[in-house]
Amino acid sequence: MINLAGHDIQHAWGKFIFTGVGLGLLIGVTLTMAGVYRGMVDDAMVLLDNSAADLWVVQKDTLGPYAEPSSLQDDLYRGLLGMPGVARAANVTYLTMQVRQGERDVRAMVVGVVPGGLGEPGQPRYLVDGRHITRSHYEAVADLTAGFRLGDRLRIRRNEYTVVGLTRRMVSSGGDPMIFVPLKDAQEAQFLKDNDAIVQQRKRTAANPAFNRPEVPGLLDAVTHSQSANPYVNTVLVQIKPGVSPEEVAEPIRRWKRLQVYTRVQMQSILIGKLIATSARQIGMFLVILAIVSAAIVAFIIYTLTLGKIREIAVLKLIGTRNRTIAGMILQQAVGLGVLGFVVGKIAATFWAGIFPKYVLLLPGDAVRGIVAVVVMCALASLLAIHAALKVDPAEAIGG
């Protein structure tokens, strides 16, 4: 028995391949959109993974530190270290800002970490170049996506920092690259105003008779100094001892330290459910519509391809070909087209995913789901075409 479908494809292979490539590009776009959605969720997840924390201790009644601002005194971590079940606790600050390098500036999340605290929560977990921060001031480890190179000098507020290390996939929940700097610098950067504002603030303080009292020399200096100090951090990241559950450690901190504590599960639900919820749903909505549109286009293409061959099908019927054979031919062609399209789409998506400005995550699971969906879609679409083919009158082969 000869393979009718194969022969037909061979007969018009150029048309078949071009249609397949066109379909493939469409499938590629759909896969990419799924990748964009996954990438967005992954950005939020790597933020949690990279912080390497089991607990996030933040200001009471806030959803900090990512979803809401939170500020804690920077000596609170000492008390936390004494709580049962706490193995390590580290002060961290987060501040999203424009980081300048010469003429250009990059939107980045500046993370303040304790310098030299290798393996402490909040630190960059692995590097792709350079080294970790060793000096207690003016060094930075930047993510690759920020576009900095080793040895670059970048400017955060008033101070210049030297890039000493590079990381990969260290991003904020919004996909902004992270730039790690020593904690004290980051605290200062978070609070430090520009020089004009500082000078004006000093003048205002000096003009206030309550602070500028001639009979108390030195009071004004003390007040000015206290105005320009920042003993706050955004969160304390806690790692717990092996063998205890996060909730067991979190509860006493909530109760006795009167602070808000989130476990990883809670933090995940804050990030996914609150922080990126709308934008993820936006992309998800777009993905659904794109998938429906793709399905419709696949159906139309297969239907028109079959209608284009209606005369040949009529001839087949005339010479007594069984309906099953004709249906099989159409189905095989449709599935073949779908598989070809998927292959092209997967290749295209993989190549152009790299040039997207934000992270696009193509999961193998999504690819499998994609090919199943494409095959099912093609099979369903071919039903319509089969119906049209079987309805055709063999007389059409002879008539006009």
């Binding site: 061979q10 391949i17 692995y126 060793t134 207690s136 000493v164 990969r168 997967k346 193998p364």
Partner: protein, 397 residues
């Protein structure tokens, strides 16, 4: 002919589909979880680590003299300006004496009057002495006359009484003289006190120095203790450095230090740790130290300027070392990824001294010659397949 035609088409189709499939397989393997993780590796080497400590501080003067009046008052004149060099004993300014000069003049007059009174009292005392001497003589004479029965007892009594009166007059005159002399001393002391107060209104430089601040202008009123002029000893500049307590091990006096001033970019000045403060800052978790300049140029660095200080510690004996980028924490354990026969093993390590270039001494857990992962394209785990490359490719890194 037709068969050949079909074969040509088949070939063309194969020519398109096979590369496509090959590309697909490549893409699936390269980008999926099947792809090996690109890593770079290094070898544990015996090396000497030269630890250094890094801190920042501000330039301060060891000796600062805040010169101001000891009484509230008005500034009459300030004779030096910021930037002037002054020597010990030099007049810097003066407070307004208000009525002090007049009071001194009054006391001068009172002193003169007291002197005259002393003279008067001395004269009176002399007069009383003369009278006393005369009365004494008279009394003795009459005693002899009464013995010789040539004068009456009544006369003798009168002379004796005169002598007694002269005695008391003399005592009174002497007492008066003493009182007047004391009065003179009091007035003199009063005057001396006022003169000293007057001198105290002159602001005098206590030591050689540089005027760094002029806080009050002539005519302004200052309270007691409020500085009018501030002087520092220029040779006494030092850097008050703060070292993070986490990385201050080994800090002690006499270590050599490099000082980079913020205004002077890369220029390195040489100094020495003068002392490590016995009191650390418990709030900021820093250790404080004073670093003195070895030599200072004529133009002094601005006091209060930010300075970066690197203190070099003596080199440690050679020991296994690694770059700090190798070190990771996995499930609470501190260690590195060892490459053994192409597979990964997480080795727990103990680390020792570190230097500022990111090298860490390994005290335990590794042998020299072990291959260790430095950089990786993603977080590694035990099951990860790795491919060791010389350098992570640019861009993809």
């Amino acid at each position: 002919m037709k068969r050949l035609h079909i074969q040509g088409r088949t070939l063309a189709m194969i020519g398109v589909l096979v590369p496509l499939l090959a590309l697909f397989v490549y893409v699936a393997i390269r980008s999926g979880p099947l792809a090996p993780v690109l890593v770079t590796a290094t070898t544990v080497e015996n090396q000497s680590v030269m630890p250094a400590l890094f801190g920042i501080g501000t330039i301060e003067a060891r000796y600062t003299y805040r010169i101001g009046p000891t009484f509230a008052g008005r500034v009459r004149q300030v004779s030096v300006d910021v930037g002037d060099r002054v020597s010990a004993g030099q007049l810097l300014g003066e407070m307004d004496p208000v009525d002090l000069d007049d009071r001194i003049a009054a006391l001068e007059a009172a002193l003169k009057r007291a002197e005259s009174q002393v003279t008067v009292a001395e004269a009176q005392a002399g007069d009383a002495t003369a009278r006393m001497t005369y009365a004494e003589t008279q009394a003795q004479r009459y005693e002899q006359l009464v013995e010789a029965r040539t004068a009456s007892a009544e006369l003798l009594d009168a002379k004796r009484q005169e002598r007694a009166v002269a005695e008391t007059t003399l005592a009174s005159a002497r007492a008066n003289l003493n009182a007047v002399r004391h009065e003179q001393t009091r007035v003199r002391s009063d005057r001396d006190a006022l003169v000293k107060q007057r001198a105290n209104l002159r602001l005098i430089a206590p030591a050689d120095g540089l005027v760094v601040s002029r806080d009050a202008e002539p005519g302004s009123t200052v309270v007691a203790g409020q500085p009018v002029v501030e002087i520092v000893a220029p040779a006494s500049l030092w850097v008050n450095v703060r070292f993070d307590q986490l990385s201050a091990a080994g800090l002690r006096a006499d270590l050599p230090a490099q000082i980079v001033l913020r205004s002077e970019g890369g220029r390195k000045l040489v100094g020495r740790v003068l002392r490590v403060e016995p009191l650390a800052d418990s709030v900021t978790e820093e250790i404080l130290a004073k670093v003195a300049f070895d030599s200072l140029s004529k133009a002094l660095p601005p006091i209060g300027e930010l300075a970066e200080v690197t203190v070099t510690l003596p080199a440690l004996p050679s020991a296994p070392t690694l770059p700090n980028a190798c070190v990771q924490r996995m499930n609470g354990d501190f260690g590195v990824w060892l490459i053994e026969n192409g597979s990964l093993r997480f080795a727990r390590i103990k680390t020792g001294a570190r230097d500022l270039d990111g090298r860490i001494q390994i005290l335990d857990g590794l042998q020299p010659g072990d291959h260790v992962v430095v950089y990786s394209r993603r977080m590694l785990d035990r099951r990860a397949r790795v491919k060791v490359v010389e350098r992570l490719p640019e861009g993809l890194r």
